[in-house]
């Protein structure tokens, strides 16, 4: 990555794509309270995405606002990590994604809150409180499912195994960024290890580390997410909504 624009855009895209995926759960959650909780988390991610996209547009200085950046870029221009674009899968996969994402976003936003860029610091200070809730929620479900029934344990372990390799990309070094993601890994490990242990789950030991999202090379899934998200906006160029 290069400079605060790319960094800000990467964070924005993580949040935006996470919001889009979480919102897919609306009307489908395992219980009504969970429908509300997932919508809350989606709204937090969407709120952070909007702040970050708006700021990225200002940094770029080309007159793009949050909607121009969200709706008028193609998949190769998106900078989100692959983890957030993975399909929701079953509830266990969604909770694995949520838990790992929050365990990365919490130290990220906490570090951002103390960075030299005032705008990013303000966004970090707001978003870290939300991330703390996302982390609690994700961790609670990882434990419930991991240490619930035989079926839920099997599904949760499979979900952790499936999502884990995608966590490595989150910590790719970028020493020039306002916060170097590589510095966040210890905090992530410190949170994730004990939760998995308490959940009676095994931490995967896979060397496979798929990546490419930060450079715009995504999984096959992102283009479908964007096709759906952008279809109406693009069908009416220049319209106000």
């Amino acid at each position: 990555m290069n400079g605060p624009f790319d960094f800000t855009l990467a964070l924005a895209d993580d949040a935006l794509v996470a919001a889009q995926r979480l919102a897919e759960w609306t009307t489908r959650a395992p219980e009504m309270e969970e429908d509300i909780a997932l919508a809350n988390i989606a709204l937090d991610q969407l709120g952070a995405a909007r702040l970050l996209l708006s700021y990225a547009g200002e940094l770029e200085g080309a007159g793009r606002d949050e909607d121009a950046l969200a709706y008028l870029r193609d998949d190769r221009e998106f900078r989100n990590a692959l983890l957030v674009e993975l399909p929701n899968g079953d509830f266990a996969v969604t909770m694995a994604k949520l838990f790992f994402l929050a365990a990365y976003q919490l130290p990220l936003y906490t570090a951002l809150a103390a960075c030299a860029d005032e705008r990013l610091a303000a966004i970090g200070a707001k978003a870290r409180k939300e991330s703390a809730y996302h982390l609690d929620h994700g961790a609670l479900w990882v434990k419930r499912l991991g240490d619930g029934t035989e079926e839920s344990h099997r599904r949760m372990q499979a979900a952790v195994d499936h999502v884990w390799p995608y966590t490595h990309e989150l910590f790719a070094a970028d020493p020039a960024a306002p916060v170097d993601p590589a510095t966040l890994r210890p905090a992530f490990v410190e949170v994730v290890g004990p939760v998995l242990a308490e959940a009676t789950l095994t931490q995967p030991d896979s060397a496979w580390a798929p990546a490419g999202g930060r450079a715009g090379v995504h999984t096959e899934h992102l283009a479908y997410v964007l096709a759906e998200m952008q279809v109406l906006h693009r069908a009416h160029p220049g319209a106000n909504w």
Partner: protein
């Protein structure tokens, strides 16, 4: 609260339609006043319970969960409150259909928050029904088994973005007109739930109006989208008030019990009168060639909705009945392993605590 970051356009209802939010506030004040003046004491040992119940209702006092009430009153309330709760839950589907495609991030946030509010309304309404001695799980099962209904309006599809606006303006508008009198319902927990629901619904109604206002003042394609949505949603919205008074099966008894305060036709008229002026400000046409002011009645004459169609939709043959139910059943079935896991985990935790305590 999320998603409130828009300013109302000129002419937007600055509160609920037709000053209805004022009525909600009045109902709230009345509820407080009734609580303050206190109710007569409980029935004497040899007092006729039915007469006691009637006296409390006639005095505009609230019936509370522990009070004696006629079985039919209890059954009517369970049916009505559960139907209302189910409507909130099923009603998430047609609007939820547009969250992923909302045309701006601001609209996406507002819509997601709105659909989330509906889940919240469903939860308080189920809680209000539970005060009558039935559990939420039982009520949900009655819905899934097709033994309890939800509002027929949600069996119509949302085919364009403008439908999200039309649902807000017309469907939420009709719901508010229906529900505001329920804020004065004789059953305390329902009245209190409705006060809260109506306040949020009036906000949703305004958001829908604002979507349509933006579209109606947008490109020709957006204007056409808005008009087409109003054309499709107008008559189903009128049908939300139920069959004409002569054919309404539950009305008279509910009026006597002060569950219901106005007839279906009175509420429908009120809704039509409220919409006409708002449609003019929106610049959208209500699809009724016979809509005109009647000086003598001081109300608009209008074309009745197709009640045969309403009966068809109620009986399961609307465009989306099967899909809405299949969706809810699938979500419930797909979530069963998660609910079982949560219960098993909670049981293990409780067991550990007992072991520690021992």
């Amino acid at each position: 609260m999320y998603g409130n970051d828009f300013s109302a356009p000129d002419g937007a209802p600055d509160e609920a339609p037709g000053g209805l939010l004022g009525e909600v506030e009045a109902a709230e004040a009345e509820l407080r006043a009734a609580a303050a003046r206190g109710r007569r004491g409980g029935p004497a040992p040899d007092e006729d319970l039915a007469a006691y119940f009637a006296e409390v209702v006639d005095a505009e006092q609230k019936i509370e969960p522990r009070d004696w009430m006629p079985d039919a009153y209890r059954r009517t309330l369970i049916r009505q409150i559960a139907q209302h709760a189910h409507s909130e839950i099923i009603g998430m589907q047609p609007e939820g259909n547009w969250i992923s495609r909302a045309p701006s991030l601001k609209r996406k946030a507002i819509l997601l928050a709105k659909v989330q509010d509906e889940a919240g309304h469903g939860l308080y309404l189920y809680a209000a029904a539970e005060t009558l001695g039935i559990s939420r799980d039982e009520l949900v099962q009655l819905l899934l088994d097709g033994r309890q209904k939800y509002s027929s309006i949600f069996n119509y599809p949302t085919l364009s973005w403008a439908d999200v606006g039309a649902i807000g303006w017309l469907v939420d508008g009709a719901a508010i007109v229906n529900q505001v009198p329920l804020c004065r319902c004789s059953y305390g927990p329902y009245a209190r739930a409705m006060i809260r629901v109506c306040k949020e619904e009036s906000f949703h109604q305004r958001q829908g109006y604002e979507i349509l206002h933006t579209l109606a003042h947008g490109t020709p394609e957006q204007q056409a989208m808005a008009q087409e949505a109003v054309d499709r949603w107008w008559y189903p919205s009128l049908a939300m008030f139920g069959p004409p008074d002569g054919d309404s099966t539950h009305s008279a008894q509910s009026m006597a019990w002060k569950i219901k305060r106005f007839s279906n036709d009175d509420l429908r008229q009120r809704f039509v009168d409220m919409c006409v002026q708002q449609a003019e400000i929106l610049g959208l046409r209500i699809p009724d060639a016979d809509l005109r002011w009647n000086e003598e009645r001081q109300a608009y004459d209008y074309t009745q909705p197709d009640y045969d169609e309403l009966m068809q939709v109620i009986s399961g043959n609307g465009p989306c009945n099967r899909e809405r139910m299949a969706h809810r059943r699938a979500a419930h079935a797909d979530g069963s392993w998660v609910r079982e896991a949560a219960a098993a985990y909670a049981a293990k935790r409780a067991g550990q605590k007992e072991t520690v305590a021992a």
